[in-house]
């Protein structure tokens, strides 16, 4: 079972994942906002700047529609992995959206979308302060010995 958490001040639901973008030689931990309203995972400027994303090396683009209108995001092949209490790691191949930098979005967290969430059975428990997610399926599973 994977375990997420609710932010103490925001009440937002987060889960930490390992993100790998081979074409940019990036591997890092990212705290994702769990967003069932997002069709796909999005790396926001907050994490892209930290990880040194070189936008000049990104070429594939796609439109994303949100409450703020349409944005022209970058699209890149990536892997995202989650750990289950140091016993297993579950991995997914995804097409990650990387949001174009905009000052008004600088503090917005990266999003975990339904391209990953749809592989889980989740218990949303804000009173208990946790998200529990059973992994129903994944692209790859690793046992930790």
């Amino acid at each position: 079972m994977l375990i997420g958490r609710f932010g103490d001040t925001t009440g937002r639901l987060y889960i930490e994942g390992h993100l790998s973008i081979p074409s940019l030689q990036i591997e890092a931990s990212v705290s994702f906002l769990v967003d069932t309203g997002s069709d796909c995972c999005v790396l926001m400027q907050l994490d892209a700047a930290r990880l040194g994303v070189d936008y000049a090396r990104l070429s594939d683009r796609a439109d994303s529609t949100g409450i703020g209108g349409v944005s022209r995001d970058f699209v890149v092949a990536a892997a995202i992995l989650f750990a289950e209490q140091r016993t297993k790691v579950y991995g997914y191949n995804i097409l990650l959206r990387i949001a174009e930098p905009r000052p008004e979005l600088k503090t917005t967290p990266s999003l975990l979308g339904r391209d990953v969430i749809n592989h889980w059975r989740m218990t949303y428990d804000p009173t208990g302060g946790q998200l529990h997610a059973d992994v129903v399926s994944c692209d790859r599973e690793y046992a930790i010995s």
Binding site: G7, I26, S31, A77, A79, L81, A83, K106, T107, T108
Partner: protein, 92 residues
């Protein structure tokens, strides 16, 4: 020959990934649970936390990132957030 998928190209070992995520979650919880106290100390600053410890306080995201690198702290395992007194309302 079949193209390698992103998962085929992950460099970190599963045990390393699990350990890093444990540490990163501790850092995220540190930022979250200490947020009220941090507002008094670091309002409008960018704070970098590694392994549960505040390592950097800076005026911008770029400055925080630069200072973390200068201190040779693993940037990929450091969480950086801006400390605001009033949280923005998110409607995604």
């Amino acid at each position: 020959m079949r193209n390698k998928s992103p998962l085929d190209q992950v460099r970190a070992a599963p045990a390393e990934i699990a350990a890093n995520l444990d540490s990163f979650a501790v850092s995220a919880k540190t930022l979250s649970s200490h947020h009220p106290r941090m507002i008094d100390l670091y309002e409008n600053k960018w704070v970098g936390v590694y392994n549960g410890k505040i390592e950097v306080v800076a005026d911008s995201l770029e400055e925080a990132t630069r200072e973390i690198k200068e201190k040779a702290i693993p940037i990929g395992e450091t969480i950086i957030r801006r400390i605001d007194r009033t949280e923005k309302t998110l409607i995604l």
